[in-house]
């Protein structure tokens, strides 16, 4: 009976999970400054952009960055100061929690806020992820917000204006958001339909940062860093990405994301031939349309030997 149990996995309480390493993120425009400014002013943020352009990575990066409070970012501070890092504070417990919630059709308000659970004869209240983020003062990232049920907006509204409170109806409580709390949502306008659109009353509580696929040279650097391919291959992959995106609106609903290009690069570093890697990671991943397959196939064979 003395066998020691070995934990094969690491588990964290949601608000206590911090990124231990700085996520790799290459800013394309001024999104870092915008985010910092909004964070300081407690303005909620909405990310718009297609899949795989780095929305989630960006929010991770920002939470890491903002969680290393170093010299606190002041208004009007130059870009430089935000980049300087105070290494001693690394373990000072000032980390900024990041709670990511992937929204889906059945996500209800109580999934976010929390609920009572039966425990034996009594009941116990369990905080939902949003409540935890509000309490601990972290960033709450609601991914693909349009997918969530409409009643979630009831929670979002009071949290995103001057009140910054989270009503917990069932317990008759109001929780005031902790200092560092910020609500960030993402939303992909490509899926935008008449039925699933954000209401303006919700939408206009956020500033919107638009994410586009990065320009070729930046994308090339990202691919090189993430997948470990050499510069030439990264350039080729970035070129492929650019060309495939040109086909958008010609039958392709969504262009090849940076993520897919990175996958292709990763396959190549494992010794898969470039054409084959692009075929499986890019061509077959983006569409089932035969004529687009043929086209992309030709583009691939033009770019890669």
């Amino acid at each position: 009976m003395n066998t020691t149990t070995q934990t094969l996995y690491q588990s964290y309480i949601v608000e206590e999970y911090f990124l231990s390493e700085e996520p790799f993120y290459l800013p394309i425009g001024d999104e870092v400054e915008l985010f910092q400014a909004a964070y300081e002013q407690k303005i909620p943020i909405l990310f718009k952009g297609p899949t795989g352009v780095g929305k989630t990575r960006f929010v991770e990066y920002m939470s890491y960055k903002l969680g290393k409070p170093l010299t606190k970012v002041k208004k009007h501070s130059s870009q430089k100061s935000s980049l300087s890092r105070n290494k001693s504070s690394k373990n000072s417990g000032q980390n900024l929690p990041l709670v990511t919630i992937a929204c889906h059709e059945d996500l209800t308000a109580s999934d976010l806020v929390g609920r009572y659970l039966l425990q034996g004869d009594s009941t116990e209240w369990i905080d939902g992820p949003l409540t935890r983020a509000v309490k601990s003062g972290g960033i709450c990232y609601l991914d693909e917000i349009v997918e969530a049920r409409k009643d979630t907006t009831v929670l979002i509204h009071p949290l995103t204006d001057h009140r910054r409170i989270l009503p917990i109806e069932k317990r008759g409580e109001l929780i005031e958001a902790a200092e560092g709390f910020l609500l960030v949502m993402s939303y992909n306008p490509g899926y935008q339909t008449a039925l699933k659109d954000l209401k303006h009353s919700t939408r206009q509580r956020f500033i919107a940062i638009e994410f586009d696929p990065p320009p070729r040279d930046i994308e090339s650097d990202i691919i090189r860093h993430e997948s470990g391919v050499n510069k030439q291959t990264a350039d080729q992959l970035a070129r492929l990405g650019e060309k495939v995106r040109n086909l958008k609106e010609h039958g392709l609903s969504e262009g090849a994301s940076t993520r897919l290009l990175i996958y292709a690069g990763k396959l190549m570093t494992q010794g898969i031939s470039p054409r084959r890697a692009c075929q499986v990671a890019v061509n077959w991943a983006i569409t089932d349309d035969f004529s687009i397959h043929r086209t992309v196939e030709e583009v691939i064979s033009s770019i890669f030997e």
Binding site: R115, Y116, L117, L118, D121, S122, T123, T193, A194, L195, K196, Q236, R239, E242, K243, V244, N246, L247, E249, H250, G251, L252, S253, R275, D289, S291, I292, R294, T295, V296, E298, V299, I300, S301, S302, I303, F304, E305
Partner: protein
């Protein structure tokens, strides 16, 4: 026994009883039936006749029995007089042979249902003819009667007569053969629709030449004809009969067998085309014809039908010159024939890869690129002449329509890919984005400097010495490219240099960026060297340009150069070398051009003898060897060359002729492209920009006159003046729709209609009232709707349209899928339902525990939510929908509808007689495309829908065509009908709406929608009243729409008539309508509106 039975003469009965009992049984059962229709007298005659039949010979009672039986069957079918005639014919036959009569009577019940009564005698006589008083001929005649039911149903009386005569003729040779033929013919006739005589005439000729072959011919025909497409069978027989007429008709049955076997191996859909091609050969040589058909199945496995046509054309030419050679060509025995097939099978046809290459180019360029065969560009007559070389004019890439350079398809395709990449490369890497003032990256900028020098020297006296003439006459340039080329006096030379350098730049960038293409690129470059002219045969200056070309195609080679000018050559190769680094811009090409021009303009274009050449290894020399000309020298040289040109026109010099294009690089016309795009931009920006100089035709003419792009064109095409070019270019650039053209085409003058109510006499015609708003009452039964199915065309149209709109199709499909009902939706928190929801139950438990009142709504249920929509789309197919939307490509084409009525009809016929494919779009085409997209979308959501087109001429002729009936399922038939939707007559909307309303009324959907798509106001002959021509029609339409609304039908009008607001306001007072500003948005808008209407 019935009353009548008793009344029959007893003597007859007793007589009958003498015969076997079978007879009296037949008689009695027949009497039961027949007595109801015949009176006593007739019955007695009838019975007597039967008796006399029975008494004829010992076995003739059987004939009588079958007489009684058959008469009971047919007594009701034919009038009595014919019945009597029929009986007598039988009796006459019986006198000759009772067996024959038996067959006659037995066949009668089946024959009479199909045979006209008046032909009875003729028919019986056929039997007579065939019967020759012998046992065998009796068998033939009986057989004839036995087969009669089938024959009568497939042959007319005339044909039957021919057939009997034929049988008679063959029976003279051999009766057995005749019997065989009869059997085979029966089958053949059923497989032939009409033209049955064809097979008979072949047989009768055969009968005279070689009668023994007749049955085998017929046998083969009966077996093989079903293998051939029904429509092609007569044509096939025609071919056979031609064979017969030709002299060497050796063995018709075996020829028939071979040919039909060969045809049967070919897909039925293209048999017609093969036969058509064979027919072309028929008049020249039957042998070639048969060889063509015989080799067709084999050839079709290698090349497709379109290619067969090319091959056939080639063979036909040979055949016309030499019959024997032609025959062996079609036998695929001549090596030429094999080569043709070889190259066709490996060639890449433009049409087949068009979509692929188009998308490929779009991907590369990142903008709308169209692909077109290069013939199109030449047709436009805006400066391009060669229809074999690839080119681009900014948004369209022109490629040759057939690529058969290599013996393998892969190589040909690779060539095409390299070519299109090169053409798109011009766009992708900015050849046409040349800016005069943008600095280059490699060279120091001399362009502006040179321009300044010119303007300084133009102040001097006799400035024309130093300044190019064109620069003095008109210092303002339309495009940057023009401004650049104006710096040179010899524009042709400058353009040649610029083309080579720029092409080389593009090639280098492509080879660096598209590594996958590098190999085929190199192969093609090497190959194109072999097509270059011999450098040593050229005079000095041309040789040096050629040297530049060769260098740009392949580096590190040894190229002969004139020894005198080896320094120039070395210098050029050094300049060119700069472009191997990435990052060179088009401006660098321009600077390089300046430098090379300065050197080459010094070189006289003189002939050189063979010993004046030396080999130059372009790779070996190092930078230090040569002193590159200083910038100052370059400028000086150019200006000097200018002066020199003016002074001496050296007689020794050859006129400089530009070098031949490199085949894969094709035509490069930077000036024209910049001009076109400048014009296009001007059109788009609507002259908002005050600073923008308006480009006039004069300015373009000016540009064209001096442009080297066009100069070489003019030489070869003396007829085309530059003003014609200019106007063509203007036309090409502007694609705005002239709104004036859209105004009413149909004669709108009032015609007072006489006459009263109409009656729909024909099948599928309906009558409707019409509202007379001046009288304030309906005109009863005023219009006749003729409801027909749309003719059927090619189903390919449907899929082709979907392909063209693939981007939109995807979007629409997604949007409509979202509209589609989730047939089962789980509804939670109900008081009652299928089952308890566990979450809600727990919540309730918790509420109980925490002391608050639990909710009772614990149940969930699947609710069926169903869309219940029925919709009818009404398409206006009036003549005005034939309006072209884009600028008409062919300016001679007359789309103006004449006002005179007779002329109008003639015009209309001519319109419809034309081919269905046009290079430009008409309103109707967009309507059709909208319909295709609509069907595609509606099929995903499963709404009930019908699509109809309407038109008409006059009130008794309102045509209403079904494209898809509201109760019909979507099928290929519908696809085929869409193809045939075409502009027709006028627009009498009222009755069409009323008819559609009636159709919708019969549907029991909850939401009913009537969607009207039109291109103008309603109008028709007589659709008016004196003084209120326009209002009458509008008011009737309004009334019809109001009627629809009263029947709970939501109507919606969509019009593409920009002036639509004025009458639509009246017509659709409280009904939704929309006027489309841009007709091109029709398909998209229509679907959007539909979505909005139904959700």
């Amino acid at each position: 026994m019935t009353q009548k039975h008793k009344e029959i003469d007893n003597t007859i009965l007793s007589e009958l009883l003498k015969h076997p009992t079978k007879l009296i049984e037949e008689f009695e059962s027949a009497l039961e039936i027949i007595s109801t229709t015949k009176d006593l007298n007739e019955l007695n005659v009838w019975a007597n006749l039967g008796l006399s039949l029975a008494n004829q010979t010992s076995r003739s009672w059987e004939t009588a029995a079958s007489y009684f039986y058959s008469s009971s069957q047919i007594a009701n079918l034919i009038p009595h007089t014919y019945f009597v005639k029929w009986s007598h014919c039988g009796a006459n036959l019986c006198k000759k042979s009772p067996q024959l009569a038996t067959s006659y009577f037995q066949a009668s019940p089946n024959v009479m249902t199909k045979l006209r009564s008046r032909h009875i005698e003729t028919w019986a006589n056929f039997g007579h003819t065939l019967y020759k008083e012998t046992w065998k001929s009796g068998r033939l005649a009986s057989k004839f009667f036995n087969s009669s039911p089938e024959l009568v149903s497939s042959l007319s009386m005339m044909e039957m007569e021919t057939f009997v005569n034929f049988l008679d003729a063959i029976s003279l040779k051999s009766i057995d053969t005749a019997i065989d033929c009869l059997d085979h013919c029966k089958k053949v006739f059923t497989s032939l629709d009409k033209n049955k005589t064809a097979i008979l005439s072949i047989s009768s000729i055969l009968l005279e030449t070689n009668w023994k072959e007749v049955p085998s011919f017929l046998k083969i025909s009966s077996e093989m004809l079903p293998e051939i497409h029904a429509l092609q069978r007569p044509r096939f027989l025609d071919i056979i009969s031609c064979f017969q007429e030709s002299e060497n008709s050796s063995n018709i049955p075996s020829t028939t067998l071979q040919l039909s076997k060969s045809l049967s191996l070919i897909d039925q859909s293209i048999q017609g085309q093969i036969i058509g091609l064979a027919e072309q050969l028929l008049t020249i040589s039957t042998e070639a014809t048969s060889e063509f058909v015989l080799t067709a199945p084999n050839n079709l496995q290698r090349i497709d039908i379109g290619q067969i046509e090319r091959w056939h054309k080639e063979g036909l030419n040979i055949l016309l010159k030499n019959i024997d050679a032609g025959v062996s060509f079609f036998r695929v025995e001549s090596s030429h024939s094999q080569q043709v097939i070889e190259s066709l099978s490996s060639s890449v046809e433009f049409e087949k890869v068009k979509h692929l290459i188009e998308m490929y180019c779009q991907a590369l360029a990142g903008s709308e690129i169209q692909i077109a065969p290069s013939e199109d560009l030449v047709d436009k007559n805006i400066g391009w002449i060669s229809n074999e070389s690839p080119s681009t004019e900014g948004s369209i890439v022109y490629l040759p329509s057939l690529i058969d350079r290599y013996s393998h398809k892969i190589d040909n395709f690779a060539w095409l890919k390299v070519v299109s990449t090169h053409q798109v490369g011009h766009l992708e890497f900015g050849s046409f984005g040349f800016k005069f003032e943008r600095p280059s990256t490699i060279f120091s900028d001399l362009r502006c400097e040179l321009e300044n020098r010119y303007s300084e020297s133009s102040m001097l006296k006799n400035s024309e010495k130093y300044v190019p003439a064109t620069l003095i006459s008109n210092p303002h340039s339309v495009t940057d490219m023009q401004r650049f080329f104006r710096l040179f006096d010899d524009k042709q030379l400058a353009l040649d240099i610029f083309s080579v350098v720029e092409d080389y730049r593009i090639d280098s960038i492509i080879k660096k960026n598209y590594l996958g293409l590098k190999q085929s690129y190199n192969t093609i470059q090497t190959d194109s060297i072999s097509t270059r002219p011999k450098i040593k045969s050229l005079p000095a200056r041309e040789a040096l340009v050629e040297f530049l070309v060769l260098l740009s195609l392949k580096q590190n080679t040894v190229i002969p150069v004139p020894s005198k000018y080896s320094k120039v050559a070395k210098n050029m190769s050094l300049i060119l070398r700069n472009f191997r680094t990435i990052g060179a811009l088009v401006e660098d090409s321009a600077e390089a051009t300046l430098r090379i021009y300065s050197m080459l303009s010094q070189v006289p274009n003189e002939d050189l003898s063979d010993d004046e050449w030396q080999d130059l290894d372009s790779n070996s020399e190092s930078q230090e060897d040569i002193d590159q000309p200083k910038d100052e020298d370059v400028l000086r040289d150019i200006i000097k060359s200018q002066a020199k040109k003016q002074e001496e026109n050296n007689a020794d010099e050859n006129q400089y002729e530009s070098v031949q294009n490199v085949d894969y690089r094709g035509d490069f016309k930077p000036e024209l492209v910049q001009l076109l795009s400048a014009l296009r931009n001007e059109n788009e920006s609507e002259k908002n920009d005050q600073n923008q100089v308006e480009i006039t035709q004069e300015m373009i003419e000016e540009l064209l006159k001096e442009s080297a792009d066009v100069n070489n064109v003019e030489n070869s095409r003396s007829t085309s003046s530059s003003s014609q070019f200019a106007s063509n270019i203007l036309k090409e650039a502007s694609s705005r729709l002239d709104t004036d053209q859209l105004s009413g085409k149909v004669d709108n003058l009032h015609v007072e209609e006489k006459g009263g109510a109409l009656d729909p006499s024909e099948h599928q015609s309906f009558v409707y009232d019409e509202w007379d708003f001046r009288a304030g009452d309906y005109k009863p039964r005023w219009c006749i709707i003729k409801h027909k199915n749309m003719e059927e065309g090619n189903p390919e149209y449907y899929s082709a349209t979907l392909h063209d709109y693939r981007a939109l199709v995807g979007q629409i499909r997604r949007q409509f899928e979202l509209m589609a009902p989730e047939t089962l939706r789980k509804v939670r928190k109900l008081v009652d339902g299928e089952d308890i929801d566990i979450d809600d139950a727990i919540e309730a438990m918790i509420d109980i525990k925490t002391g608050s009142g639990p909710s009772e709504k614990l149940y969930w249920r699947r609710n069926k939510v169903q869309r219940d929509v029925a919709v009818i789309f009404l398409l206006d197919t009036s003549a005005s929908t034939a309006e072209a939307i884009e600028e008409t490509r062919n300016p001679d084409d007359k789309w103006e509808a004449p006002n005179d009525q007779t002329e109008y009809m003639a015009w209309l016929r001519a319109r419809r007689g034309e081919g269905t494919r046009r290079s430009y779009k008409r309103i109707i085409d967009l309507e059709k495309e909208a319909v295709v997209l609509l069907i595609n979308a509606l099929e995903t959501i499963g709404d009930v829908y019908g699509i109809y087109a309407f038109s008409g001429y006059g009130r008794e002729n309102v045509e209403f065509y079904t494209i898809k009936d509201i109760e019909e399922a979507f099928s290929d038939t519908v696809k085929r009908r869409i193809d045939r939707v075409a502009p027709m007559h006028a627009t009498r909307m009222g009755p069409a709406i009323r008819h559609a309303t009636t159709k919708l009324e019969s549907q029991d959907a909850r939401t009913k929608i009537l969607f009207l798509i039109s291109d103008g106001r309603p109008q028709d002959r007589g659709y008016s009243r004196e003084g209120v021509e326009k209002e009458y029609a509008v008011h009737d339409t309004k009334k019809a729409l109001d009627e629809a609304r009263d029947k709970d039908i939501t109507a919606f009008c969509l019009t593409v008539d920009k002036n639509g607001h004025d009458y639509l306001k009246t017509m659709c007072e409280d009904i939704g309508y929309e006027v489309l500003d841009d007709i091109n948005t029709l398909p998209r808008r229509m679907l959007y509106l539909y979505r909005r209407l139904t959700t």
